[in-house]
Amino acid sequence: MTTNRISHKWGMVVDVDRCTGCQSCVVACQAENNIPINTEDVFRQRRAIQWIHVERYWEGEFPDVRARFIPVFCQHCENAPCEPVCPVYATYHNNQGMNVQVYNRCVGTRYCANNCTYNVRFFNYWEPVWPESLRNQLNPDVSMRSRGIMEKCSFNVQRLQKAQRVVEGQQGERLTDEKLKEGNYLPACVQACPTNALVFGDFLDPDSQVSHLKEEHLDGHGRGYKMLEHVGTEPNVIYLKKVDIHAKEVVKGHA
């Protein structure tokens, strides 16, 4: 018998002060995860699928006006509202801190999406279609979701599985931030982000960058906060506050 799997708690730290709203993460995610092409009609029907999307919030009136950007994706909540409402256990929390969507269990009730605090679950209203030649680009490591299936950010679990096979399986070492990076196993959005606003890592690893950032920012003295914390979902994603030279202390944002 080899030793049991090494435990992890994957999570993300998002520095809102670094995010410029450039959408690199959005397209990187589309490319990695076989997300169907969002046509004009899909947007009109408000059924576009973007596992990670950039929300834009306005503040003030001309000329003292601000637009702020924040990347929003599945927060992989510890206390996830989507999980208890699923009648078929298609969504659950795994032992690596991830909120998992099991496509082959899903029956498409959409209860989870309705109960999600962050609006990050997306339903396949149609069978996904690509022109034949574009199918050559599809990622062979990610399942195709058919019509009637709910989908959402998976923290690129296919890349993690691969990293675990290579690092923990073949090299017999613990999968850490460093190992993730050198093996090119970061989630596609994190890898793409030009300003390094997204940091991915293992909260159980005390030496990881996310642990350092959490320590630095979350204990009341830094910029850390969790989105809609009062709902009590206990997300695994920490946001770092936007710095504004005109801020009083905390200003209310609005859509």
């Binding site: 080899t2 799997r5 690596q96 679990v157 599985q161």
Partner: protein, 223 residues
């Protein structure tokens, strides 16, 4: 009398109908829980474009015919199996997810020299040669097929079982990759036509994963 006859007929009808229903039910349940009965083409080996004899290639020792007699050449020399390692042809099996079937070119490496002879009938070799000459792929019928939602990786399984100390379910210690194959695929070398021997349903996978304390988290296989 007529009433009794009618009653008997009704009961008989019900019994016959019930029998058919029961048989169908048993068949369906068996297919659901395990592998289907080998009737009507279910569960049996599929027909391949080339009747590739795994026994000749991967078996060990003298070749036997259906009656258990040693097969010989015209000069009386016994024909012996080649004893090739599974990974000789299924080259990817210890490297990646899929085991891969060998390219036609690889078959031709040997079959340039190994030709059909009077005492050495090689049915299907003509199909292979014509595929090679026309540069066309050989389209095999898939024997083992997992649903689209499953990401099975051969490499991880073989790596685990070839590590010292990790015994196969049969109790043996695998030293090379080829030792591990029969765990799921059965004794392929003994099969005239390859067929699936284990149900390879999720329960089958999970039983084994539990036995070996392998991860049973959904994301291990489904993503």
């Amino acid at each position: 009398m007529i009433r009794i006859a009618a009653l008997i007929a009704l009961l008989g009808g019900l019994a016959a109908g019930g029998l058919v229903t029961t048989i169908v039910l048993i068949f369906v349940l068996r297919a659901w829980w395990s592998t289907p009965f080998e009737v009507l083409g279910f569960g049996g080996p599929p027909e391949q474009p080339i009747p590739f004899p795994h026994g000749v290639h991967a078996g060990v020792g003298d070749l036997l015919d259906e009656d258990g007699n040693v097969v010989t050449y015209a000069d009386g020399q016994p024909k012996t199996a080649l004893g090739l390692d599974c990974t000789y042809c299924h080259r990817n099996v210890d490297k990646g997810a899929s085991a891969s079937v060998p390219p036609v070119e690889q078959c031709i490496f040997c079959h340039k020299a190994v030709q059909e002879g009077e005492d050495n009938p090689l049915p299907g070799l003509a199909n292979l040669i014509s595929a090679w000459e026309n540069k066309e792929p050989v389209v095999w019928e898939r024997v083992h097929r997992l649903p689209d939602s499953v990401r099975f990786v051969h490499e991880a399984h073989i790596r685990y079982f070839t590590q010292p100390g990790n015994l196969l379910p049969s109790g043996e210690q695998a030293t090379v990759a080829a030792n591990t194959c029969s765990t799921c695929h059965g004794d392929v070398a003994a099969m005239a036509e390859v067929k699936q021997v284990r149900s390879l349903k999720m329960g089958d996978c999970l039983d084994c994963h539990r036995d070996y304390s392998a991860p049973t988290d959904c994301t291990t296989c489904h993503y």
